[in-house]
Symmetry: C2
DNA sequence: TTACGTGCAAAAAATTTGCAGTTTC
DNA sequence: GAAACTGCAAATTTTTTGCACGTAA
């Protein structure tokens, strides 16, 4: 555990929204100016492999980068509004059942799962 | 409708597995040597916006690129084995219910959805 | 004809790598 | 002290863009 990793972790933990690698770099540098871009990528990779963070696309609303968030107890669904860009998270019991069912029916051991949805939120739907 | 688009479409339609942009370019060139990389990207973007193809990450088993597949009637779940790399597709009624439920509970109009799962397939699980 | 699509070349965006030096435990 | 981690610089990979020319409808 190094100072750089601590800074990166803190940024992800205290983030109020989903951050991409560049945003994480910028915020981590505010805590520890020495943090380098490659350390961010290396750390993200590590955290991903450890299952401590989830990687998201958020439907690539802007650009082709990825977003990261701390993985807490229960998985949640991400909904991205194609008009206003708002990201909504949703926890669903049905989603949990679906995964259990998948593991049984496909004899597949799930390690990580990602359900992302694009569409129009209540305020933007027509 | 141009010759280049026809070639790209044909490649995606007749693909036996998920292809990324580079693979699509290579195969499209086999049909029409004039196809350029940017035309592939522009066409993929178009097809994506029209809802004719889906864009996948396949858990980024290798590289950071995206994979494309023709969008047919029913959505399916993609399962990627973290060991052998095999991609399995699965159609689930529960998945359909989940989406319906989501639209109702969150007052969100779904345009596109993507459920990807990473883990270990029957042959690789431990 | 005329709006749209294309190749080309160059740039931008996103990520990875080799390496020598530094830090953690 | 050994193993792991880091910054730096450079390279890769993936995607986008401007522009002059070509083509489908």
């Amino acid at each position: 555990m190094t100072a750089q990793r601590r800074a990166i972790l803190k940024v992800i933990e205290t983030a109020s929204k989903h951050l991409d690698a560049s945003q994480i770099l910028r915020k981590a540098r505010a805590l520890d100016n020495s943090v380098d871009r490659s350390t961010v990528y290396r750390t993200l990779d590590l955290l991903k492999r450890q299952g401590l963070i989830d990687e998201l696309d958020l439907m690539h609303l802007k650009g082709e980068g990825h977003y990261y968030e701390r993985k807490l107890g229960r998985d949640h669904i991400h909904m991205a509004c194609l008009r206003c860009g708002k990201i909504t998270e949703f926890v669903s019991e049905t989603f949990e059942s679906l995964k259990t069912q998948l593991e049984r029916d496909c004899r597949f051991h799930i390690v990580v799962s990602r359900l992302e949805v694009g569409g129009y939120c209540a305020g933007c739907r027509h």
